[in-house]
Symmetry: C2
Subunit: 245 residues, 2 copies
């Protein structure tokens, strides 16, 4: 059993990562089932070693929990309510997993570690689901993508963390250009529009949308896409080189 | 002497607040001199009580350290490098303030508290300097505004925290409309342009700037400003009501 009190972690601080995916014109979130008795569905969460940068810890946690390493994580919010703790969650875990604790003192240590208020630093990432390799190291954890409109019940306040991450993603969509990470190197305006519609969950009028995106000043227009029907072929675009982040 | 180890604070987490001010077309930062021997210039920083929301702690710290309560604070970044600690700072403080510690054990407790890595949660605010009342409770601390282009040397990594806050402010300028908090209820386009120029530290062409701002779709045009010279009078604007945040 994981005994965090003996691992040299900073107490009372955690990290939770919301991995957004895009596939078939749908926005989805990566969730894993904890390797425990009981149906505990969770974001990629964990703790920070005393000698580890917070950003490094976030990448390690996503690698360990989700098996994903090629990813760009961004801080989006600190969840710092005084009432935020693991008590309800850890009591349920201990009730359903009595046999996994090796000793009573280990149980008490683990409980004492969790039985505190935790401040959680939220990170998010946007990935192209088709380019993410299936997780390798965590086959037992039943990692999977869930449509953001139909999320399962997650542990603790993880559903709220997803909502806040979506809000931040929407607010930062134009400014950070993160959405373009989800598209191939060249793309049509229609593909950009579908992506924006999935993230913002509302339709756009084609002409207004095109103007809005071109006004960002970050796209370079290329040749027309080859479709066989020359007249109706849409233009291809790509991000200007100095905009990639 | 402040002995944080006995105050029921969460260990290893701090808060640092960057208060930006705007006056005479200049962007400035509020800094206080710590009430200690030695020239320690600092942002409004402090710690979080075990039973206190992180946001509440940020407001309390700004109130206690700067004497300002009418303010809107926003999280902007978590400073989480493993190498981030107070050791150099606290050693200097103790060297110059030996008489303020009441006992050797208190000195050791205080040192032990600080002699750890600290993760700091950064907040910023933008205030209209002329509307901020002079600090009352901290007369000894020599609180003052400094032009952001000519900052004094601050303790620890506080100068870097100011730089990062400025970067975040610039990135969020359009999206969060925070800059408009600095203007009176009605304002001219020239006043908006001067404010943007102060924050972004670059000039804008008048016509392009006006178009960019009007395209945000957040302003309502009112009557012309009365200047006595009707023809040249500029229009007044105000924020549309549903945009205030």
């Amino acid at each position: 059993m994981f005994n965090p009190s003996q691992q040299g972690y900073i107490p009372q601080i955690s990290i939770d990562c919301v991995i957004f995916g895009y596939q078939n014109k749908q926005l989805q979130v990566l969730v894993s089932k904890l390797n425990l008795e009981g149906n505990f569905m969770s974001l990629a969460g964990g703790f920070i070693h005393q000698n580890e940068d917070v950003d490094t810890a976030a990448y390690r946690i996503v690698q360990q929990r989700m098996g994903i390493s090629e990813i760009y994580l961004d801080q989006f919010y600190v969840f710092g309510k005084a009432s935020r703790n693991n008590i309800g969650f850890i009591e349920k875990v201990m009730e359903l997993n009595t046999s996994t604790f090796q000793s009573k003192s280990e149980t008490i240590q683990t409980y004492d570690w969790f039985n505190n208020r935790f401040i959680s630093i939220g990170y998010y990432a946007l990935v192209d689901i088709s380019s993410v390799l299936p997780p390798k190291d965590n086959a037992n954890q039943q990692t999977g993508w869930y449509n953001i409109k139909n999320m399962p019940e997650l542990i603790m306040d993880h559903n709220d963390i997803v909502s806040k991450a979506l809000e931040s993603l929407r607010q930062n969509l134009d400014q950070k250009l993160i959405a373009f990470n989800l598209l191939p190197e060249t793309f049509t305006m229609k593909e950009v529009q579908e992506l924006y519609e999935a993230i913002l969950d509302r339709p756009f009028a084609r002409n207004n949308f095109q103007k809005k995106i071109l006004d960002l000043g970050v796209l370079q227009r290329l040749e027309k896409k080859f479709t066989g029907a020359a007249n109706k072929a849409p233009y291809l675009y790509r991000l200007k080189k100095d905009n990639t982040n």
